[in-house]
Every structure is written in structure tokens, then in C-alpha cells.
Symmetry: C4
Subunit: 272 residues, 4 copies
């Protein structure tokens, strides 16, 4: 294998070609959802779909050859590898569930366009910082689900019969969608059920909002910080890790020292 | 054509007259929606409506004569031109669809009132910056739609029969409106369908919120920046492009240099 | 009338007494909503209610005597005056609509507790700044309503029959509540109706969020500014009208001047 | 009792053991919601559940012995004490309501994991600051509820019959869930009912958003302030109570003084 082939995946022209193939593949997978296609059209579309898969496989093989095991250090590469491998396993063609996962290949578009990639990375990067809020939310949901089964399991077995359906019902409450349709019949049997439902809605809505905002604000701040660092690099200024407020305090301290020195200077001048 | 006529569209009195005509036109188009109007009233209202159109046409012709092709460089002018032209095409009176588009003329009100115009411009100006989040959302929607057709197309053809209705159903999920009414029957057939629905709701709600906030925060910051620039211009200070944080770093550096100079000065004084 | 009586409404003890009467009145008006009260209980409650009204009237008369026409310069006083006057008009007892407005008297509680009063004032103070966003939203709603009547008036007269019901339906769309129940039947007749519904939901949701956030952020910033001003006053520093960013620029300029002076000083020292 | 036993609750290994027991207890309480368990399985699960309770009781007794009455000064300890005591009262086993409250024991998980504990503390700490907004919201709700009973009590007794159901209906309006299903039938009888419903939705949605954001922003700022204080402590800088803006003003004042001193120095130099 020549070095030229190894370098191929990094060349802009090839990358643009891969994006075009992903878009073509997206179109074909979309058309193939039409239930009224003739068998001939399906055969033709499947053929082009296979062609796209060949291109993706070729790209990954080239990258694998160029980077060897380093290839698997990048999460995006691992994602590519899994998504393409699944489609290559023989016999998957008959399993409709795995067939459906072929569509994930289109997510490679996000990876291939830098600005969309940054959005995705930003969203993932913001996740760990809010893990503890998500944890609190999960504990609240679990405790509430067990209480709901105990309280309402006999009155409304369809919505609160076991832990599984109760989780679904509580998620429905969390989205506030159709909650009165569930709560009102229960309250006809148990008039004090509102003492569970209303605090649950208030508490989980608030925690969820808190969680979402935590992630959004976090990711916005990270984006802004990066901008500031870039602007500083352009000015030839060392980018420091300190926050704006800490630096303001440092400036204050330096100014106080300057004043003391000038006062000393003035005093010495008086001595002349 | 006299120069006086050319300058007419820029005169405050004429502009106020045009706003009044738009408001009159708004009232008439509103009254005309009443299905119980007598033919005579309709004739009368149509006559006044035509009168308003004459005023708008006159205004645009004047502007076109004054500015010639420069007229089309301003997006608002192009909007005015299209909206008024559509109403002038003969025969459109019988096509109810194009008749309905006459109402867009009232959007000229937004253009005519500076503060509302600024709101509109701000919203449009903030759009490109969030294009990549919108792109990620679209890719997620497209991939989800294809998966949903493959998974649920046979179980619930009304909501997931083809790509078109699936997009509508997923948009309904995105607004979280009535999603349990769609999801619960599907889950009776396919108990694991929640593994698609719940992640979909979580992911798209979060991405949509992220998108909306991106636009809102962006447009607020732009408005604030403009205010700061105006305040600086009033103070006779050159408005710089640097962010507050970069400038704070520059101040730090200057202060450090001042301290060094003063130290040098003190050392020299000691030499006397 | 003695000066002691004039000063009464400003005394803490009297103010606390009025708050207690408002709370008592709130309790009574709440109990009176019970449809199963005996006529005797109603008579008793009405009697206490009248007693509360006497206290409120007495308070307002005292204030009016002390402040004369200055009384009406404060919006809260005008609100008090109207709310108490309405209840005093004879014959209003039989008009159930005006009876219901008696309840507004309880809003006086907000006025009487300083921290709640500040919240209310902050919300009102933030309103004018977002008037132009509200204006844009109203124009969009009006234009959409006329279009909706023209497009869907014949297909679904119940929801889009005239401008009145259409406004209500569009407000329902704005809250995203039950929109698929309205949109789906219309789309069975007019398959392209989604080209109206989906952009309408996206555009108005976004504008509404923009409006709400504008008001909330504005009112938070005003509260914060007030805090800063108070903190500065405590430090004996003149509170300036300039924003933080403008002041940072001024500091930069002053520092540059200091450096120039020190450089000049150093040069002169070299001259010795 | 040896000192080693007293110190046990503070040892990392014991703390990890307690977390493991809480998780085990969570799993068992979850499994016990299954209505199809055999009596033998229930006996077995109850036995393990009792075992968990023994561990919790042991932990609390140890802490109580070590800290005596100081134990009750920490809110988390009080919570632990109540939750474990309830389960120990004999006879509670037959009262299904109190049985359900056993689940609260799982909330101890939040307490045991420091990062989740901080989230909970932050949420509680932010509550008092927004008490006045909550107060305004409650007054609006109460006044609206009384008005709604008076206006709509006879037309729709199911939703507005007495103060209790009206509060529930208004809470449903606040979540905007299914409001058209309630409002439309009422409006068929009372066409002007929208003059109550629409302002109510606008006003309460806005106040609720204001309230939620107040809490979220407050708690975020507190978290950020803590971070800044930690960063300053690391730099060996005294953390001051002043806000960034106040400090900027102080820096301005010091710089002005420095300039004056340098000017004076220059003038003196001229005198040589």
C-alpha cells in the first residue's frame, strides 16, 4: 500500500466526497422507507446503499492502515467502526432491528462537518459536570416510583401496576403531558392523591430545568472561554487559568503596591 | 419627476401617513374575515383595500425612482416589493391562496416602526450563529424518522406510515404535545418502544432548548454590545473590538510595566 | 381631625393591623365560596367582610386627609381607592360580576409587604423595555389569524370560523396545548396545512420565549444594579451611571496616561 | 463502648458500606413492588430489608453516642433519625401508608454522596431568596381561585365547584396541560370567560418562570462565588465581600490618586 493511499482520508477532496456519499446514503435510506416501492426499485436502492457502505468501509480500512491501533483512541473513529461493522455482518439483512440501526451511519455527517462536530462535543463535554443533578433526579424518580406503586397500584393498575409502567407514567408527569387525565381518576378514589402528584410535578420540573440549564450554561461558558483564549493568543498575551474576578483582585494588589512606592518616592523627594 | 417627489418617502410626515395606511389596511383585512358580510360591504372594503394598495405601490415606485437598483440591496425593500407586486398581478383576486398572502403586507408595520424593526433584525442576525445546532437537530430528526418508520411503520401506520407523517409525529413529540396518546398504543404491541421514545424526547428537547437559548443569548449580547459601544462613543472613547476579559489582561500587563519603571526610578533615586 | 390620626397610616402597628385585616378578609372570602353554607353563616361572614371594608375605607380616608391630592400620584393608592370604592357602591351586592371583583382587595397584601411589593414593581418596570418584542408578536399573531381564517375557515369553522375563535385557537397553539387535535383533522382536508402550523408554532414559541426572557433578565439586572449602587453608597463611592465595560476603558486610558508621565519623569531623571 | 466504635461512622470504609446497604435496600424495595411475588419471596425480601434497617439503626446509634445532642444540629441527621425511627415503630408494618414512607430511606443516598448532597443543599439555599416571588404567585392564585369559583362555579361545578377543585384546576392551567378542554366548554356558556383564562395563563406562567429562574440563577451564582473564593484562597489573596463592580470603582479611585501624586512629583521635579 502506497503512502498516497494512507494520506487519502485526510485530503479535503476525499473528505468532501465522503460527505457527499453520506448525503446520498441519507437520501436513499429515506426513500427506502416508502412502503409502496416496487421490488425492482428496492433492489436498485439496496445496490446503491451497498455502494455507499463500500466507500465507508474503504475509508475506515485506509484509516486503520494509516493509524493502526491509534485509530481506536478517538471516540468518533470507534463510533464509525461499530456503525460500519454492524452493516457488514452477514445475515443482518434479514433482521429488521439491526437493519434499522444502519441509519446511525448518517450521524457520521455530524462528525464530518467541523461546526456540527463542535456542537456535539460541547454537549457531551458539559454532561459530566451535571452528573450529580441527574443523580438527584434519578433518586427522586426511583423513590417516587416505589411510593406510587404502593399508593396507587391497586386503584389504577394500568398506570401504576408495576415499577416499569410507573416509571413511564412518572416520565409522562415530568413532561407534564396529559397528567390530569391520569391524576383525576386516581383522585376520585384517593382524594389526597394530589399531595403526591403536585409536589412531584413541582420538584421534578424544577430539578429537570436546573439540570438542562446547568448543561446549557456550562457549554456556553466553555465556548466563550475558548473564544477569550483565542483572542488573547492573537494579542500575544499568555492565557492564564485564573478567572476574571481573581485577576481583578491581583490588579488591585499591584496598584496598591504602586501607590506605596510612589508615596515612598515622594517622601524621598521631600528629603532633598 | 421633481426632486421633491423623490425625497417624499424619507419625510417623517409621509412615513407616518404610510404607517396609518398599513393600520387601516390591517383593520380592513381583519373585518373582511367575517363570513357574514353583505356583498355591498365587501365591495366597499375591497375598494378601500385597493386604495391602500395604491398608496403602497406609489411609495415603492417613488423609492425605486429615487434609489434605482440600490433599492434592491436592502432586504426590507425586496420584501416590500414582492408583497406589493403579488397583490398587483391580475387574476390573483380569484386565487384564494394568493389572496391570503396579501396579509403579509401588514408585516410592513414591523419594518416601519424602528424599535420593532430592530427586534426583527436582531432575531435574524442571531440565526446564522446557531446554524450548526439546528443542523445537528435536523440530522437527529432525520435519523430518528427513518428508524421510527422501520420500527413502528407496520404497527401504527397512521402516525409512522411514511416519512412525511413520521416527521409530523416526531415534531409533535418534540413539542411533547400528546406524546403518550401516540406512544402508549405502540408500546402495547412493542413493549420496548420506550427505548426509542424516551431518549428521543430527552435528546431533542435538550437540543431544541440549547438552540433557542443560543439564539436568545446571542441576540441579547449583541444588543448589549451595541449599547456599550454607544456609551463609549458618547465618552469620546474609541470603541475597541476586544472583549472585556482580553482588556483586563492588557491592563494587568501595563500595570506590571508601570511597577517596573517605578522600581527602576526608585533605584536611580537611591544612586543620588 | 387631629395630627395623630393623620399620621396613623404610617405607623408600623397600624400597618400590621391592616395586613391582619387583609388576611382575615382573605380567609372569609375563601370560606364564602363554599356553596353549602347556611344562610346564617353567610350573614355572619358578610358582616365580618363589611367590617374589613370599614377598616380599609377608614385607612384610605385617613390617607386622603393627610396627603390630599398627592394621594393619587402613587399608583398603589389609586389601585386601593378603586378597589375599595367599587365595594362601596350600593347595589353592587346583587351584581355577581362586581361582587367577584371584591377579591382584588386581597391584592393589597402584595402592596403591604415590602419584599412582595418590590417583586411586583420590578415586573412592571421591566415591561416597557420589551414592548417592541410584544409588538412584533402581536403583528405575527394578527397576520397569522387573518391567514388562518382565509385558509381553514371553511374546513374547520369551529376553530377558525371568525377572527375571534381563531385568536383563541392560535393562543392555544402558542401554548402548544392540544395543537395536534386541532391540526390533524384540518390536515386531512388540506394536506399542506402543516406549512402554516409548524412555522407558526416555531416562530411564536421562539418570540414568546424571547419576550419572557427579555423581561426576566431585565428585571434581574435592575435588581442587581440596585444592589451594586447600595454597596457603593456604603463604601462612600459615587455611583456612576456608566456600565462596567465603559469604566474599564476609562481605567485603561488613565493607566496609559500614567505610564506616559512616568516615562517622561524617567527621561527627565536621565537629564540630571 | 470503645472509642474505635464511636469513630466508625466517619471511616471511609464504613461509609462505603452504608452506601452499599442503601443501594441494596433500594433494589429490594423496588423488587417488592412486584404484585406477583410468592409469599416466600416476600418473606425473604422482608428479612433482607429488616437487615438493612438494622445497619441504619446501628449507624445512627453510633453517631448519637459519639455526638450526643450535637447530632440533632445537622438537618441531615434529623432527616436520618426520623426516617429510620418511623420504620422501627411496631405495627407500622400493617399500615400501608407508613410502609410507603420507608422509601424515603433511599433519599439517604443523596446525603451520602458529597456531590449530590451539594446539589440538594444548593437548591434549598436558593429557596429563601425567592420567597417573595412565591408569595406573589400564591396571592395571585388565591385571588384567581375565589374569582373562578364565583364566575364559573355554577357553569362547571366539576372543575370550579369549590375552592379545593378550583385550586387543582388552576394548577392544571399553570402547567398549561389540557387547559382548552376545561376552558372551551365554559366559554360556550360564558363567551367572555377568555378574559379570565388568557390573562391568568399569561400572568402565572410568567411569574412561575420568574420564580424558577430566580432560584436557578441564584444557586448558580452561589456555586460560582464559592469557586472564585476557593481560587483566591489558592492565590493567597484575601477574599473580600465586595462585588466585582464595587471593586472596579475602588481601582478607578486608586488610579486617580496615583495620577495626582505623579503629577505632583513632576511639578516638584520641574522646580529643580
Amino acid at each position: 500500500m502506497t503512502p498516497a493511499l494512507n494520506a487519502l482520508p485526510d485530503q479535503p477532496l476525499f473528505q468532501r466526497f465522503v460527505v457527499a456519499v453520506i448525503l446520498l446514503n441519507a437520501g436513499i435510506l429515506g426513500v427506502m422507507t416508502d412502503p409502496d416501492l416496487t421490488p425492482r426499485t428496492i433492489r436498485l436502492l439496496s445496490f446503491v446503499d451497498d455502494g455507499c457502505l463500500v466507500v465507508f468501509t474503504f475509508e475506515i480500512v485506509l484509516k486503520l492502515m494509516g493509524q493502526r491501533l491509534r485509530f481506536f483512541r478517538d471516540g468518533w473513529n470507534v463510533f464509525d467502526f461499530i456503525v460500519v461493522s454492524v452493516a457488514l455482518i452477514p445475515g443482518t439483512g434479514t433482521m429488521s432491528v439491526l437493519r434499522a440501526f444502519r441509519v446511525f451511519r448518517l450521524m457520521r455527517l455530524v462528525k464530518s462537518i467541523p461546526s456540527m462536530r463542535r456542537v456535539m462535543v460541547g454537549m457531551f463535554a458539559a454532561l459530566p459536570g451535571t452528573g450529580s443533578v441527574a443523580g438527584v433526579l434519578l433518586v427522586i424518580l426511583y423513590v417516587s416510583a416505589i411510593m406510587a406503586v404502593n399508593f396507587f397500584g391497586e386503584v389504577d393498575p394500568e398506570n401504576f401496576g408495576d415499577l416499569g409502567v410507573t416509571f413511564l407514567t412518572l416520565f409522562q408527569f415530568l413532561t407534564m403531558e396529559g397528567w390530569p387525565d391520569v391524576a383525576r381518576p386516581v383522585m376520585q378514589e384517593l382524594p389526597y392523591a394530589w399531595m403526591f402528584f403536585i409536589p412531584f410535578i413541582l420538584l421534578t420540573t424544577f430539578t429537570t430545568l436546573n439540570l438542562l440549564f446547568g448543561i446549557i450554561v456550562e457549554s456556553m461558558e466553555q465556548a466563550k472561554e475558548e473564544e477569550v483564549r483565542d483572542a488573547m493568543a492573537l494579542q500575544g498575551v499568555d492565557s492564564s487559568q485564573e478567572s476574571e474576578e481573581v485577576r481583578l483582585v491581583m490588579v488591585e494588589r499591584e496598584i496598591r503596591q504602586i501607590r506605596e512606592k510612589i508615596t515612598a518616592l515622594t517622601v524621598r523627594m521631600d528629603g532633598f
